[in-house]
């Protein structure tokens, strides 16, 4: 074996994350982990597909990108197209309808992720039998908890349906505003369903919080590393998931940039291409490609914002920050705790908005002076989502650039997997325990790999051990 030879261990695809991911663990000659890579087959064709289409179609078309997060793409595109039609500030009714849609989405997405994907790991342990460590196992052992998770997801979906018009291909947000308000009947139906959600949200938060506190020494050695963080914030530095300006902080919590106009994101965010991945690696320009990587998503938002405007979530945020010693948390697994704080915040915002009579207003659409280029940024459930478009005089889209949260988290996820592999790989065999932990680490980021289609006949989990010459040494699949 020459100096550059390595052994490769391939885990594919990662279960319980969307689409197909593949993990390659590169070993050196001493059988030690040199590097681990999460390969994500990101489908970039969309940016070409949308070229030539009328700009007003974008908020509907982009929902096709992702079966999980269509509302995030819908709203990010609509925000960009607001600027294209010259609208910098929506009418109160339009902005509040969009916010309601977004908080409904955050609520359902976080509930689904936690109960469906994460709770089996936390409730049964990473090494529990996979035939038990799943949502049906949770339903059998903790039926009330599982039912709450299902009904929370359903509630969030109903909020989306009431604001976007329908469950699939929603059309609620249009350039310059919205196409409907919320009727009294829709409002009352949602308020009736919302009644138990506060208690359930607090209970979910407690599970995530208690788990982190009880396992903190173990988690400090599990995919934990310092990093920079980025998110949108309000002018006062508070959390805002729908709109704001960009802030980035370093691992000590010191500001790298702050209040960066979303239209000028490219002054600070640069995308690097690496030969082994379809997915780009964004970095902060001032720090360069080596040091400029950062995390996004719930952990970053809790770390970078200075406050949350809703009382229960703010109380929870303060405890979260105290736990981390006033600095950004290094724990990948703390994403779950942060995510449940946001779940609670989303619930509080939904209730606040449902009580707001502006939702029954009828000023839905505004127009201004037409522009040729615009950016829309939103804090999607998984993190910062950037849509950037150019539109010609014939109203056709000529350029689209999308940076999704999974792309921002590309480098952090690779570091998380590398950390777990170094800690748990023994010899050149993939044990069930290692496999479980690699998956748990990736799931903390809730990566969106759904650009792959899901039709019947896809591959199950396959684990392949590949030698230095590319030969397959071992292969196992699950289930």
């Amino acid at each position: 074996m020459n100096e550059t030879s390595t052994r490769r261990i391939v885990i594919e695809p990662v279960t319980r994350v969307e689409g197909h991911g593949k993990v390659t663990i590169l070993l050196d000659e001493q059988q030690q982990v040199r590097q681990a890579r999460l390969h994500i087959v990101e489908f970039r064709g969309f940016e070409r597909f949308i070229q030539g289409r009328p700009f007003w179609e974008a908020p509907v078309l982009v929902q096709r990108l992702c079966g999980i997060c269509p509302v995030s793409h819908h709203l990010a595109a609509a925000k960009a197209m607001d600027r294209i039609v010259g609208v910098d500030r929506l009418s109160p009714t339009a902005e509040k309808m969009r916010r309601l849609m977004h908080y409904g989405q955050i609520f359902q997405s976080h509930a689904l992720h936690f109960f469906h994907l994460v709770s089996p790991d936390l409730l049964f342990g990473f090494d529990a039998d996979p035939t038990v460590r799943n949502i049906v196992g949770v339903a059998r052992k903790f039926p009330e908890l599982a039912k709450q998770g299902v009904l929370m997801r359903k509630f969030g979906q109903e909020v989306i349906r009431a604001t976007a018009g329908k469950k699939i291909h929603g059309t609620g947000a249009i350039p310059g505003g919205v196409n409907k308000n919320l009727s009294i009947a829709e409002r009352d139906a949602l308020l009736e369903e919302a009644e138990p959600m506060l208690e359930w949200s607090l209970a979910a938060l407690k599970i995530a919080r208690d788990y982190t506190l009880e396992h903190q020494s173990e988690l400090a050695d599990f995919a934990a590393f310092p990093s920079s963080h980025m998110c949108l914030v309000r002018p006062d530095g508070g959390l805002d998931l729908y709109d704001g300006r960009l802030r980035a902080i370093d691992a000590d919590g010191e500001v790298i940039f702050d209040q960066l106009d979303d239209q000028r994101y490219s002054e600070q965010i640069v995308e690097e291409v690496r030969s082994w991945s379809y997915m780009k690696f964004p970095f902060i320009r001032d720090l360069g490609p080596e040091k400029g990587w950062y995390r996004v998503g719930p952990l970053s938002r809790m770390s970078a914002c200075e406050s949350i405007e809703t009382p229960e979530a703010e109380k929870a945020r303060r405890e979260f920050i105290d736990f981390a010693g006033g600095r950004p948390s290094t724990l990948s697994m703390a994403y779950h705790w942060a995510r449940m704080i946001e779940l609670l915040h989303a619930y509080e915002k939904v209730i606040e908005l449902l009580d707001d009579p502006d939702l029954q207003g009828d000023e839905l659409l505004l127009r201004g002076e037409r522009r040729e280029e615009a950016v829309g940024i939103i804090e999607a459930p998984r993190g910062t989502l950037i849509h950037h478009y150019r539109v010609n005089a014939d109203d056709q889209i000529t350029m689209a650039n999308l940076i999704v949260s999974t792309t921002h988290n590309n480098e952090p996820m690779n570091r998380a997997v590398t950390g777990v592999a170094r800690r748990y790989l023994s010899g050149a065999t993939i044990t069930e325990g290692l496999l479980n932990r690699v998956e748990v680490a990736i799931r903390a980021y809730d990566p969106c790999l759904s650009c792959a289609t899901h039709a019947m006949g896809q591959m199950p989990l396959v684990v392949t051990l590949v030698g230095p010459d590319g030969e397959v040494i071992d292969r196992r699949s699950r289930p």
Binding site: T15, R16, V17, E18, G19, F43, G45, F46, F49, L61, Q63, R64, L65, G67, I68, P70, S109, L112, H113, F115, H116, L117, P130, T131, V132, N134, I135, V136, G137, A139, R140, P143, A146, K147, G149, V150, L151, R153, K154, Q157, K167, I168, H169, R443, D446, S450, T453, H454, A455, M456, G457, Q458, P460, L461, R478, P479
Partner: protein, 171 residues
């Protein structure tokens, strides 16, 4: 009393033939068949388990990347899922969840309509997928007229039903 049937058509209509499931559900909705409700989505999700309690028969209609042409139909049973995508759920796991949480025990079938083109963006079905969709709809209407008797029994229409092994449905 006629059976209460629920048809879930799921897939991404922006990914060419992946839209076969929603197209099937929409076509059935347009036909307004007695006792048949339809729903469509990008994917199945856990909250769909609640709807299972209100039906006697459920059909999960999806595009199939392999298997019989023009379509296949296979009875499915509740089964705890061993492998999930994070935000979607397989039909057999959804049945298990519906049974555990809502006491739902509908007869269930997976209808896999063969598609061919999935890896590009585009809101259209290929000509071959359109033909398979038409065949599946024709079959379904006949099955509905027959009271949804198990179609794999002797004397039932089986010529468009490919005999599929488990692998084709276990994604």
């Amino acid at each position: 009393m006629s059976l209460r049937a629920l048809v879930f058509g799921y897939g991404n209509p922006g990914r060419l033939d992946d839209g076969l499931g929603p197209a099937f559900a929409q076509a059935l909705a347009d036909r307004q068949l007695e006792g048949v409700r339809t729903d469509a989505g990008y994917q199945l999700s856990v909250e769909d388990a609640a709807a299972l309690a209100a039906c006697d028969l459920v059909i999960f209609a999806d595009a199939a990347v392999q298997g019989a042409e023009p379509f296949f139909l296979e009875a499915i049973e509740p089964r705890a899922a061993l492998s999930f995508s994070s935000h979607s759920i397989e039909p057999s796991a959804l049945l298990a969840l519906g049974e555990e949480l809502f006491g739902a025990r509908p007869r269930a079938w997976a209808l896999g309509i063969r598609g061919y083109h999935f890896n590009e963006f585009g809101e259209r079905l290929s000509a071959a997928a359109e033909a398979n969709l038409a065949a599946a709809l024709e079959f379904f209407e006949g099955w509905h007229r027959a009271g949804f008797l198990p179609p794999t029994e002797e004397g039932e229409r089986v010529d468009h039903v490919g005999a599929q092994g488990d692998d084709s449905l276990r994604g």
